[in-house]
Every structure is written in C-alpha cells, then in structure tokens.
C-alpha cells in the first residue's frame, strides 16, 4: 500500500468508496506496481478479495506483497483471498492430464476463445459469494468486508486469443454483479502498446478495449513513460482521472503525478518536484 497514493486518491483502508470500478492502464510502461498497491490495500481493509493473477506465479505476488507487509499465504488460508493462478490453470488446459478435475475458469482456452469468458465470470461470482464472503459465516469463520475483484492483467487475455468484445462483456458482468449488486469494487489492469494512428479497422485491438473500459470505469489511472525519455530517478508519470461526479457534484480535474518505484513501495510527487531534481 503506497501511502502517498492513498492521499492522492483520498482513500484509506478504513474508509473507501464502494461500488467503484477502477481501471489501471499502462502504455509501454509496467503498471503492475499499482495492482500490488490495490491488493495490499484491500487485504488490509479486510475485504474478500478474488485475484486473477494471470501474469506471474503465486510466489511472485506473495514475495512482493511480503515487502508491502501483507501475507498472501495467510490470507488464502483464512479464506480472505481466492487466487487464480493463470499460468498453472492455463498449462493444464493446454496439456490436459488425464486425471484433472480442473477448474473450469480458463476452459475457454481449449475451445474457441471467441466463445467468451462466461466460465471465468462464473468462477469470479462463485468465489466472492462463497461462505465467509460478506454473508453469515455458518462455521464461525471470519467475516470479511465487501468483495473485491483484481485482474492482472487483461492484455494476457487478448494475447490468448480472446476478443476485445468478450473482455468488455466480462468486465461489464463483473461490474454489474460486484459493483452494483454486491457493493464491492473491481480493479482491472490493462497494458497497451504504442499508440498508432487511427486504426479504423481494428475492432479487436487493445485500443478499443481501453476506450470501452474507460467508458465503464469511474476512476482511471494511466501510467506512461516520461515524454522526455528515460530517466533513472523518475520512472514515469501517472494520470489520475475521476469520471464520476464526486459527492459535491463537481467534476474533479485530472491530475498528473510523477512516480518512482523502489523496493518497498512507490513515491508519488508533483511534476518537477522529484527529490533527484530539487
């Protein structure tokens, strides 16, 4: 959890808005450090978290969260965290063993991926509404807060052949059930490539997906490199866009911050005020 980012977004684990759909996007920059922030944030806030970790193995996420002060293994044991390890599940679909019962979540990989992500959505839905997930815990297990879905990251789904339309439908359904019905939050990460000129014929590309997700979201964090090039002390800039009206009815302006990622966190500062410069 990055404290400076919490103050920028005006949230804290004790008080955060519910029913939010947050989009984290990175253009040619690696924005996964923000997913780690949100993961540790919501675990600290005692929410029931469903994490689709499609990019790296469980031990990677575990090691990073350890540095941020949260133990994923413990959260899994206490059933606060449901973790889908995309790599292992995907491998078991590519090379089916004979004796797998298997999680059907990634079964779209064996069939035509154009079929859609309905099974993945069912997996998400069942994991957040399992006992101990905000409803009465019959076996005395701990009560957790509102459900949260984190996805790292959606561009892997595009790489595996899923169409942008299917991903948009999946995010629509997640938003409808998690944000509106269950009053939880959804955070999704998407990486885009270099922006090309108007690609009119590209209905399936990540640009359309990005625009569709921005239309759906209520908070967008866009990470990109500095326009002036590579710098060792400032790793890039983050643009924070609020899309919904805030409580007092005013639109909030977009804000741009620069950031630097270090071992145990990331620091955010206004443009030009990096400690390396001042």
């Amino acid at each position: 959890m990055f404290t400076e980012l919490n103050s920028i977004l005006n949230t804290s684990p004790d008080s955060f808005t519910q029913g939010d759909f947050i989009l984290v996007s990175g253009r040619q920059s690696d924005a996964s450090f923000l997913i780690h922030h949100f993961l540790s944030f919501y675990l600290r806030a005692r929410c029931k978290v469903c994490f689709l970790g499609l990019v790296q193995s469980f031990s990677h996420y575990s090691a990073v969260c350890q540095r941020l002060g949260v133990s994923l293994a413990q959260a899994k044991e206490k059933r606060q965290l449901v973790f889908l390890e995309g790599l292992q599940e995907g491998l078991s679909v590519f090379i089916p063993q004979d004796d797998t019962t298997g999680n059907k979540a990634l079964s779209f990989l064996s069939r035509d991926p154009m079929v859609g992500l309905q099974n993945l959505y069912e997996f998400v839905r069942s994991s957040v509404s399992s006992p101990g997930g905000g409803e009465e815990g019959s076996d005395g297990s701990e009560q957790w807060g509102p459900p949260v879905l984190l996805v790292d990251d959606l561009s892997v789904l595009l790489s595996l052949g899923v169409s942008a339309r299917a991903v948009l439908d999946f995010s629509h359904y997640c938003r409808a059930s998690l944000c509106s019905q269950l009053q939880g939050n959804v955070v999704m990460l998407l990486h885009c490539e270099e922006e090309e000129e108007e690609d009119d014929g590209d209905d399936e590309g990540s640009e359309r997906l990005l625009k569709g997700l921005i239309h759906q979201c209520c908070l967008a964090l866009h990470v990109q490199g500095l326009p002036t090039g590579y710098c060792r002390d400032i790793h890039g800039q983050v643009e924070v866009c609020w899309r919904r009206r805030q409580g007092d009815g005013q639109h909030t302006q977009n804000k741009v911050f620069q950031y630097k990622v270090h071992d145990k966190g990331a620091s955010f500062f206004a443009r030009g005020t990096s400690s390396a410069v001042l």
Partner: protein, 296 residues
Amino acid sequence: MLSELLQGTDTGGFLIVQDNISHSGRPLLKSFISAALNRDEDVHVLAFEASEEELKDGLQGLPCQRLHIHNAYIDPLGWTAHPAFTVQQFCFEELTQLAKQTSQPKPATLVIDSLSWILRHLNPPHVCKTLQQLRKGGAVRAIIGLLHADMHQRGTVGSICHLATSVIAVSPGMKADEAVAKTTKRAKSGKVTQDEEIFRINEDLTVVVLNKTSHPGPKQTDQEEPEMDPTANLTFNLRLSDTEREAKEKLALPFVFSKEKKMALLQSGPGSGRILYEPDANDDYDQEDPDDDLDV
C-alpha cells in the same frame, strides 16, 4: 438550439447524444429524460450500460410512475437463467410490444443507453433497420440514444448518425463542469442547422445554456484593462494646461509656408524637372549581412 431540443416539440425524431472518453454524455441524456417526464410523457429506458440506481439518481423529485427502466444491465447476454432484458430482444416487434404495455394513449419516448453497447453485439444494418422501423411504427414518439463515437469505426458512427434527425456531440469545456455541445439538426424540409453552445447541467438535471458561440474557444471573460495614463506618476510635468495648449496651437512653425505658397508649390509648372531613378544592384543594401561581398 439545445433548449429547443430539450422541449421535445418534434415527433418522429431520432436524437443522438454523441460522446467520447473525455466527456460523458450520460448527464445530458438524463436531462432529456427529466424534461420528458416533466412533460408528463411515458419514458421507456433500455439500460444496458448503467445501473438503475445510477439512472434514477437525480430524477427523484419527478413523477416516476411514467418512467419504465428495462434492466438490461445485470444480464444482457443471458448468462444467468432469468435475464430481465437481453440484447437479443432489441428488435422491432419486442420493442413495440414493450412500448404498448403502458396504458397511456400518448406514445412513449424511448431512451437507449447505450447504442454503442447494442452495436457491439448486433450488426449495424440490423440495428439501423430496427431504429428506422421504430420511428415509422408509431409506437414510440421519439427515440433518444447515447453513442460513444470512439468505440466504433467511423463508418458505423456515420451510418447511425445518418438516420438521426438531430445529433448533439458533447466535448469538455474550458471549466470543469461546463461542456460544449455541437448540435446538428435536420428538419423535414431538408434544411440543416448547426449550433455550438456551452452548457452546464445542474443538480436537478436542468440544462443551463451559458452562451452561444459561433467560434470555438471563447475568451469573453477577460475585459480590457483600462489604459494606464503614462504621464501619471512622473517626477516632471508632461501635461499641458489649457492656456499652454492654446499657445502651442498659435505658434508659427519655422518652415510652414503660407497658404498661397503651398498652392503654388503643389501645382508644379511645366518647367520643373523630374528626377527619374531606377535602383540598381548596388542599392540592394542589406543591413543584416555586411559581409555579403566576402567570398566564404
């Protein structure tokens, strides 16, 4: 022109609110809904992209028994067993039936949020055909749709807007809560009017048109500062009093000729010579380049 459209005087109209990621058109759409409700009309909303709560937010004070929201947000593709409204139901027969369910003799207004969602799942010719049939059908009085222009190819956006009678394209304005609306209206006679206005939407979903501009980028808020008097704060006196000014006027200047002599000089006689001169190359003296003749 925005206010006229809000009053909704024309029937059989198809209005499109076009937006993009920089500014959402949903508040304007909700203003249209509230204006229709204020006129005691039935409004049917096909809600694909926004939840019922989000749409009803701001419409609390109005007579809501005329507002029928068809919830296509929860399960539009039929993934669960009992979907409320799916995208496959977007066809002429079903929608006519839907509109006729209300008991009022006056035909209803159909609001679609959003057309982009439907276009992602049904092919554009089918969508256009349905919309055209609805317009001609008589079951609905007017159709208002929200379209995200950056989500489709240009041709698709163009085809849908081609069917519309009015298109309002919103974009962000200079201040945070203002927006710019570019309206294009096609009358039945074929006349096309265009307008560009700055507007703001209040809490109660009324639209306030701030000022009409004919060119973009208004900057009328800055007024000219009054010219500072340069002779004001000096240690010496540069001003003239009235008597001093009179004396200055009366002073005879040294080389001023009398009036007669001026007239004589102006009409030059036949014998005066004229100088004819054509500048040659040496006269093209460029102050900037003194070394022009150096051979470097």
